[in-house]
């Protein structure tokens, strides 16, 4: 190991430290140097405020165990806090997971009382959620219709940023992440809200564009051809 070439570079920034790590050397060497560098840094004031640390590993794949290991080393200094570990490399499994979380699942149906519709990713429901029905997604929920049942969005990681969108918002309960809100309105009052959703489609039989009530369209099965029906 040439002593002149530094494997770990510590950069000070306004918002904390950035540790830039060599992406070509052995991981073991990286750990050794990291420990040495941290130990040698006399300017890391032991009594100062908490400093946030970002780690840039470049084009190196680091596993969850390795991430934990890095965090452990840095957290052995009380006032250092790892904010993020950034790597340019993803495994296929991780990529699939991200894709799963970001995809929009389109469903054309009515979620009736007692039925549960649960998806990974974002849910686009074309149809109603009736009282007693439940829709749940790891991401956002979009209802093109009336939401009168229970909707739980953000049921994956970092769920607090999820949103619930509905054309008619009259839910019995909403849940985003771990937070629940309930509707204080009277059930009968909610039921009286009126809406009329219309859907335009090309009718093969008459060769014209037809506009029909969306519930009628769902019933006729005219919608599913462009959507992945589940």
């Amino acid at each position: 190991m040439p002593a002149t070439q530094s494997l770990v570079t510590i950069k000070g920034r306004k918002d904390g430290l950035v540790l830039v790590m060599n992406e070509a050397c052995a991981y073991r060497d990286l750990l050794i140097e990291l420990k040495e560098k941290l130990a040698a840094s006399t300017n890391l004031d032991q009594n100062g405020p908490v400093i946030s640390v970002k780690i840039e590993v470049g084009n190196r794949y680091i596993s969850t165990d390795q991430r934990d290991q890095l965090k452990q080393i840095i957290h052995s200094y009380d006032h250092l806090k790892v904010e993020a570990i950034h790597s340019n490399v993803l495994t296929y499994a991780e990529l699939d997971q991200i894709k799963e979380q970001e995809k929009i699942v389109t469903m054309v149906r009515i979620v009736r009382s007692g039925q549960v519709l649960s998806v990974q990713g974002n849910l686009l429901l074309i149809g109603d959620v009736n009282p007693g029905g439940v829709v749940s997604a790891s991401g956002n929920i979009y209802v093109l219709g009336s939401l009168r049942g229970v909707a739980s969005a953000g049921q994956g990681e970092d769920g607090n940023n999820a949103v619930i969108v509905a054309s008619i918002m009259a839910p019995t309960q909403l849940k985003i992440g771990e937070t629940i809100s309930r509707n204080e309105r009277n059930t009968a009052e909610v039921l009286t809200e009126r809406h009329r959703f219309e859907c335009a489609y090309l009718d093969d039989h008459i060769g014209k564009i037809v506009i029909d009530h969306i519930q009628a369209t769902i019933k006729k099965g005219n919608l599913p051809f462009t959507f992945n029906k589940m």
Partner: protein, 265 residues
Amino acid sequence: MGEAIVVTSGKGGVGKTTTSANVGTVLALQGKKVCLVDTDIGLRNLDVVMGLENRIIYDLVDVAQGRCKLNQALVKDKRFECLSLLPAAQTTDKDSIQPDQMKKIIDTLKADFDYIIIDCPAGIERGFKNAVAGADHAIVVTTPEISSVRDADRIIGLLEQEKQVSPPRLIINRIRQHLLKSGEMLEIDEIMNILAIDLIGIVIDDDGVISSSNKGEPIALNPSSKAAMAYRNIGRRILGETVPLMDLDEKQGFFHRVKALLGMR
């Protein structure tokens, strides 16, 4: 080959048995061969409403368990030659028969009758599964109450999973005009908006229904009552006729007036 229609609701007490009895009666009045099947084992009522209780020798469970032939268990109606009843057993419970046994019995009946009306018990358990097993079509009965509509919604969801049953159709039962007038009852439009299935009829709440049930005479036999007219219209719609929703139209006029008063639409 006949058609089997299950009459169901989820909730109890909304008028499944009364509807079964009257729909069966009006189809028989039209000269169709009809068999009513009571699947409410342990709580049988259809025989009482039809006034045929004293003629029961064998029942559905006897047929399923091979204690008698199907024909022996059928009770002929005293008024119509073409109307029969397959009564439920009263001494056992719903678990004494399996859905596949039920389907076999209904399939056998379909060979001899034009319409088989299956009266379903309340609930979504074994009794419901038995009743639906042999059905080709379904009629969901609801009343203009939130609880009843909620249960109907649940039942429609369950019926949609039964692949052999055609999309269910709806009867709104026990409509009370004075409550509609005061706006204290769910409107038909609202119910249709939630349930989103085809409406096959609406029946006005009629005191005559109770008194005729007690006498064992389906109200449909008394053409002067509004409920009887409603059932007759339902019967004609089942036969494929296009009958306008006469009562609904009448009330729609009324709805429009209310809406106009409230400045809606």
